[in-house]
């Protein structure tokens, strides 16, 4: 039963990772920007939800605040960090360092504002009850599954059907094509970042409501989404989702064999192995060397 319990909590974390990694993969796939500040988006979204909800704002409204903060931060990064650097043709490393700097900044601002310790938001949704003998699940487990499925489905439909969605896919593959369709590459990449950042919100809210938040969640989520999008195959949304779940489950199951300390590292063993032996990931295209 312990194994089942671990599997359940692995899936729960995995789905949160999947949502976040999907956002990261969407942004990287469309814009080729290695948006490591996605972790900062996640942390900001989580804290925005938590602080407003704790202040007594009804939760749907708190979610909205969180969404505004996340998208706002993403667009801010695009307009004031990425655009200026890419305008003078900075290398990928310049972009990476700038984004990484913002991860550090956001973490320290959160520390200064809300302290370094864990904060969480509890409600009746998060109280676990025995579903089976020995298997405790909180109702939020089902909420997470439903929310993840719904959002990924919506994103998939949007990317597959809508004009802007098709434009986003063309952005990475064939920027020439965009001009033919009369779409602006600049606006589309802003759209990709806004959309990707929005995808961090449900994960952040759910994590605030389940395991809680601390300022260092930003770098942590950044590492996980990076790992998931590489293990899944860079640019592949489906791959990122699958890898997110895989990472969550691995992290959780490792606890049954090794010390809990190893749980976070398990994901990185996976990442390291994939980079060495299958850099294209689960579902990605071959990597140009």
């Amino acid at each position: 039963m312990l194994l089942l319990q671990l599997l359940a909590s692995g899936i729960q974390t995995g789905l949160i990772y999947a949502l976040t990694a999907a956002g990261f993969a969407l942004i990287f796939g469309a814009t080729r920007i290695f948006h490591v500040a996605h972790g900062a988006t996640f942390a900001l979204a989580g804290y925005a939800f938590l602080e407003t909800a704790v202040a007594g704002v009804p939760w749907p409204l708190a979610c909205l605040v969180s969404l505004v903060v996340a998208v706002g931060f993403g667009l801010f990064m695009d307009a004031f960090v990425y655009r200026p650097i890419l305008r003078h043709e900075g290398s990928f490393f310049t972009v990476f360092v700038a984004a990484f700097g913002m991860v550090v900044v956001v973490q320290s601002v959160l520390e200064l504002a809300f302290g370094r310790s864990f904060v969480s938001y509890s409600s009746t949704l998060t109280r676990a009850t025995a579903v089976l003998p020995g298997l405790y699940l909180a109702p939020i487990f089902w909420v997470i599954i439903a929310v993840t499925a719904a959002i990924l489905l919506l994103t998939g439909v949007f990317l597959g059907r809508s004009r802007a969605g098709i434009g986003l896919r063309a952005l990475s593959e064939n920027p020439e094509l965009l001009r033919a369709f009369g779409l602006s590459a600049r606006r589309l990449s802003a759209l990709a970042i806004a959309l990707g950042s929005a995808l961090a919100v449900p994960g952040a809210v759910l994590m605030a409501a389940t395991s809680g938040l601390q300022p260092s969640i930003g770098p942590h989520v950044m590492l996980i989404s990076l790992a998931a999008s590489i293990v899944g195959g860079i640019g592949s949304l489906r791959g990122a989702v699958a890898a997110g779940v895989l990472l969550g489950v691995t992290e959780s199951l490792v606890v049954s064999i090794l010390d809990t300390q190893w749980s976070e590292s398990a994901g990185f063993v996976l990442l390291f192995g994939f980079i060495l032996f299958r850099p294209r990931g689960l579902l990605g295209q071959p990597v140009p060397r």
Binding site: S91, T94, V104, V105, S108, E111, L112, F268, F272
Partner: protein, 292 residues
């Protein structure tokens, strides 16, 4: 006060070595490692174990630490040969996370979370160099050796080959450069120096634990290199001194509570990294980062 300044100077020398060696990877070889603290840590543990188990001789500890770190640098060279760009950065981040866990778990070798304590005072070939000024001189001497070594290497055919590789890997290949051999050597040399710095650090602190070898430390060293200026000899040194002086300087500001100094320091160097990349990607004293 003097003791405080001496300590700061010694740490500057040690972190100077660390930053200069990372700069060799980032600035000359185009290997963007986020795992430099790992090799700093490997050297620190190796040096500490030599001091604890064999003899507290700085030279011996430094040599063993450097060799050990160089041997382990294959973990970094392997992904550097397989992938590049974002993938390599991700691989090095993964290595850093793995190593942090390994450091805190390998109780027998690293003392686990508690670390290795009671490292005896340093000797140098039988001489007692444990006093603060003496050890500062030792560290400065090692720093000077590393600087001279890097300058010689970078002025010579090895440095030219590395820079050629950084500017155009395919052209370097077309002119007969063995990319695998070059990158492996560059990583080994850079990591060996990080290991050496680690051994000095172990003596200086008389205590090592995993806290000093985490991702935060790797980021700090990278920030030193970036802020000082990538691809220059003096830049990383300037960066190291600046970032070490920062917490000291902040502690003089009365309106910052002591518990927040760490966060404020992070805030400042994080902001500095981002702003520099936007407005002056060359750093305070240098050329642009990783241009192709």
């Amino acid at each position: 006060m003097t003791a405080y300044l001496l300590n700061l100077a010694t740490l500057s020398a040690i972190f100077g070595i660390l930053a200069v060696s990372l700069n060799m990877l980032v600035g000359y070889a185009g290997i963007f490692s986020m795992a430099h603290a790992v090799f700093f840590g490997l050297g620190a543990y190796a040096g500490a174990q030599i001091a604890l188990q064999v003899i507290p001789d700085v030279l011996l500890a430094a040599i063993v630490a450097a060799l050990f770190a160089a041997a382990c640098s294959l973990c970094l060279a392997l992904p550097a040969l397989r992938v590049r760009g974002e993938y390599f950065v991700a691989a090095s981040l993964g290595l850093q996370m793995l190593a942090s866990t390994a450091f805190s778990q390998a109780q027998a070798l690293t003392g686990g979370i508690g670390g290795l304590v009671g490292i005896p005072p340093p000797m140098l070939l039988g001489l007692d160099v444990s006093s603060a000024p003496a050890f500062l001189v030792v560290c400065l001497a090692f720093l000077a050796l590393c600087l001279i070594g890097i300058r010689l290497l970078m002025r010579g055919s090895f440095g030219r080959s590395l820079m050629a590789l950084r500017d155009s890997e395919s052209a370097a290949r077309a002119f007969g450069k063995d990319v695998a051999q070059l990158k492996t050597q560059a990583v080994a040399v850079g990591c060996a120096m990080a290991g050496l710095a680690g051994a000095l650090f172990a003596f200086q602190e008389a205590f090592v634990n995993v806290e000093s070898f985490t991702l935060e430390q790797s980021i700090l060293v990278l920030a030193m290199v970036i802020i000082g200026g990538v691809g220059t000899l003096a830049g990383p040194l300037i960066g190291a001194v600046l970032l070490l002086l920062l917490p000291a300087g902040l502690s003089f500001l009365p309106f910052i509570p002591p518990t927040d100094i760490g966060s404020v320091q992070q805030l400042i160097y994080g902001l500095a990294m981002t702003l520099l990349m936007i407005f002056r990607p060359a750093g305070l004293a240098g050329r642009s980062v990783g241009q192709r």
